[in-house]
């Protein structure tokens, strides 16, 4: 008896230890809109304000806002998809949006854009076209950026360079001139194809326009890869270019011993807070030779499983409207691809912070020269294949010829798979 009572006691204790769940997510009478954003929790005050305004225009709407950081957002979104509770609106960076579109997770926004040409007309057409997959538009721009070249004027001066690189060879020879002791000449970000302009300016493209066949394994491609590998070996190019992601390259450039950095505009604001050497007089801003650049933008999408797609669309229209987009541009100092907003904001910024304005101006010019934005549903698989071989070449493990031939074979196989 004693024992049985003990067991009972234990069981009761276990039950008591189990708190009941706080809240069950049941469907309620009010219309609910859930929004998942990518790492912009710092804009909380502005978002709260938007929500309040939107709610006053659409009474009875309840808004749930979720924000996750880059590496975790895909895991969270996929989990929600699997559970059948995807957030209505999701903010996606780069090519991932197309991948999810290919999986059937996102709603085709083309009919809405066709019905409301005024909304379509808000955006820079090239940035909008970034997220066209199989002829359908799945995302609209939220905030956009593309790569450019920053350089360290004092280091250039010390090396006797009057900056104006016209080609990759110029970049590499300048890099060599700057490098030495603890200095390196050139640094690039590499994630999301951000290194691709280096190839594109040499006339090398990844795929044929129909995206069916790889085109990078050419003499020009091999030569370019070879040059970059040699420059890395002799210390002109900082090795972090091929191994770092965001913090290391930017941190290294901010530390003041790297001549040039190829990165997108947001790098400027990070570098500025980190590097005490950076003033309007010391930091140089330039386009890459040939004006090639890789976009790294954020777009809004609506989940196909959204409970209230019309409401979600209404919110997207609201959030990309001039007044809201302007607030956002101001709050974060960035370009939105809303052409009117960007123009006005840059005019305003010219007065307050001319350097930042110069950086951002590059983001809305030469948008016809975007590269590295292939509309593939398996972009990340292709990216990983090519990147691994590129790392092999740049860091001197394999020679360019065999590595690119290998990469070509694997990319062909991957393109066949889907």
């Amino acid at each position: 008896m004693q024992k049985r009572r003990d067991v009972l006691k234990l069981a009761a204790g276990t039950a008591a230890a189990s708190f009941l769940p706080k809240k069950l997510y049941a469907q309620t009478g009010t219309k609910k809109l859930s929004i998942l954003t990518w790492n912009i929790i710092d804009m909380e005050p502005l978002f709260k304000q938007w929500f309040a305004t939107f709610q006053s225009q659409n009474p009875g709407v309840e808004i749930e806002w979720l924000d996750k950081k880059g590496p975790e957002l895909p895991a969270f979104y996929q989990t929600q998809l699997a559970a059948g509770t995807p957030p209505d609106i999701v903010d996606i960076q780069g090519g991932l949006g197309l991948e999810w579109a290919g999986q059937g997770a996102l709603l085709d926004l083309t009919p809405m854009l066709d019905k409301e040409p005024a909304v379509r007309a808000r955006f820079n057409p090239e940035y909008l076209a970034n997220w066209v997959f199989e002829g359908k538009n799945y995302l609209i721009p939220f905030y956009v950026s593309k790569s450019l070249l920053f350089y360290n004027k004092p280091l250039f001066k010390a090396a006797g360079i009057d900056y104006a690189p016209k080609s990759l060879d110029d970049i590499l020879s300048y890099a060599k001139a700057v490098s030495g002791a603890d200095r390196t000449g050139f640094l690039t970000l590499n994630f999301d194809w951000l290194y691709w302009p280096l190839f594109r300016m040499q006339g090398v493209d990844l795929l044929t326009p129909d995206l069916k066949k790889p085109t990078f394994n050419t003499p020009a491609g091999i030569e370019t890869a070879d040059k970059l590998a040699k420059a890395t070996a002799d210390g002109s190019i900082n090795k972090i270019s091929w191994t770092g992601r965001w913090v290391e390259p930017n941190g290294a450039f901010a530390a003041g011993n790297v001549g040039m950095m190829h990165a997108h505009s947001s790098a400027y604001f990070f570098v500025k807070t980190q590097g005490s050497w950076i003033t309007p007089e010391t930091i140089g801003i330039a386009e890459v030779p040939g004006y090639w650049s890789t976009p790294n933008s954020h777009g809004y999408a609506i989940s196909k499983g959204a409970r209230n797609p019309e409401l979600a669309w209404a919110f997207l229209k609201f959030a990309t409207e001039k007044s809201q987009a302007m607030d956002f541009a101001r709050g974060r100092t960035l370009t939105t691809a809303n052409a009117e907003v960007d123009k006005d904001f840059l005019a305003e910024l010219d007065k307050n912070d001319p350097t930042a304005a110069a950086v951002l101006r590059t983001q809305i010019e030469h948008t016809d020269k975007l590269t590295g934005n292939w509309r593939l549903s398996d972009d990340s698989a292709v990216k990983n294949i090519v990147w691994a071989e590129m790392q092999n070449i740049f860091l001197g493990r394999r020679d360019a010829k065999t590595a690119l031939a290998d990469a070509e074979k694997k990319v062909e196989r991957e393109l066949r798979r889907t």
Partner: protein, 324 residues
């Protein structure tokens, strides 16, 4: 035929006399069932949790590995396609497999180190508590932060390790630890050892302190030297703890996920890719959960085999087979 009736008669006739032994057997049986019940009750909560959060997901992975599936597409039977792709076409898989094995095989170094520390700390050394605290201190750190710090320590230009090596004149040119194919994996392993050595130590300490002191006293009275006491008493009594450490070493090949992710992201060119990072990239990076599931199943099988071997290596008694 002859003996049967009397026996039966005997039983029937002297029912009272034989009753106690029967009742005793019954009592034993009841006690056994009661004990079995108790064991079952004791195991139940843990088993429930593992069933829900480990076994069910494992089953999910096994099923998925034979299908084509993503969260929004209806599953289609894929046969062995995922496995065929893995073994025949996926170079990254083989690299990750090799790296995972190297990662696991490096754990005995850390365990030996931890054992040495645990023995030193468990002795009458003054200040042992301080040493113990310091050595354990790295374990509670968040792995993400550990990764960030070690990434800096290994940095080619501003990093502390290169700074010291160059300052003392040991090397002329800085070593790009995380940027080179040869150094990257050992560097990550070292950072990992730094973090888990305190964990091994605490497990071994728990084991050491559970050894009854009278065993040592008896041995000392018998005049056994320290080395013999270590080999005859400490080591055999530590077997369960050593086994736990071995299992932790095996587990470490995926609990080090954050560390690898932050320090190298699996690079350069998959030089530090582990199976677990590959699984994660495939699943959440490339939205190929079916393929990731196949990878999970292969990793699981591999680890089961390794655990079995580890059990053998430390004497085969650690948990599964023993008789009282």
């Amino acid at each position: 035929m002859n003996t049967a009736p009397p026996q039966r008669a005997g039983v029937a006739g002297s029912a009272d006399a034989v009753a106690p032994p029967v009742r005793a057997a019954d009592w034993y049986r009841r006690k056994r069932t009661r004990e079995a019940m108790l064991v079952a009750c004791f195991l139940l909560p843990s088993l429930m949790i593992f069933f829900l959060y480990r076994i069910l997901p494992l089953g999910w992975n096994v099923i998925l590995s034979f299908e084509y599936w993503s969260p929004l597409k209806a599953a289609r039977f894929a046969g062995l396609d995922n496995y065929a792709e893995m073994f025949l076409e996926d170079d990254v898989f083989w690299q990750a497999l090799t790296n995972t094995l190297i990662f696991i095989l490096a754990s005995p170094i850390a365990i030996l180190l931890a054992l040495a520390v645990a023995l030193a700390v468990n002795s009458d050394l003054k200040g042992a508590a301080i040493y113990r605290t310091i050595i354990f201190l790295s374990y509670p750190l968040m792995s993400v932060a550990v990764g960030i710090v070690w990434r800096w320590l290994y940095d080619e230009r501003g990093g502390f390790i290169n700074f010291v090596l160059r300052g003392t004149g040991l090397i002329k040119e800085p070593i790009p630890f995380l940027q080179s194919f040869g150094w990257a994996l050992p560097s990550v392993i070292l950072a990992d050892i730094w973090q888990v050595v305190g964990f091994y130590m605490i497990i071994l300490l728990t084991g050491l302190q559970s050894i009854p002191q009278h065993l040592y006293e008896a041995a000392r009275i018998d005049g056994a030297p320290a080395s013999a006491r270590f080999l005859r008493i400490t080591l055999p009594m530590l077997r369960p703890s050593l086994f736990i450490c071995a299992v932790i070493g095996i587990l470490n090949s995926f609990t080090a996920f954050d560390l690898v992710y932050v320090m190298t992201g699996g690079g350069p060119a998959h030089a530090t890719e582990l199976l677990v990072t590959h699984i994660y990239n495939m699943g959440f990076g490339e939205t190929r959960f079916d393929y990731a599931a196949a990878l999970t199943v292969v990793q699981f099988t591999l680890l089961v085999i390794l655990t079995f071997l580890a059990n053998r290596a430390v004497g085969g008694n650690a948990g599964s087979v023993e008789s009282a």
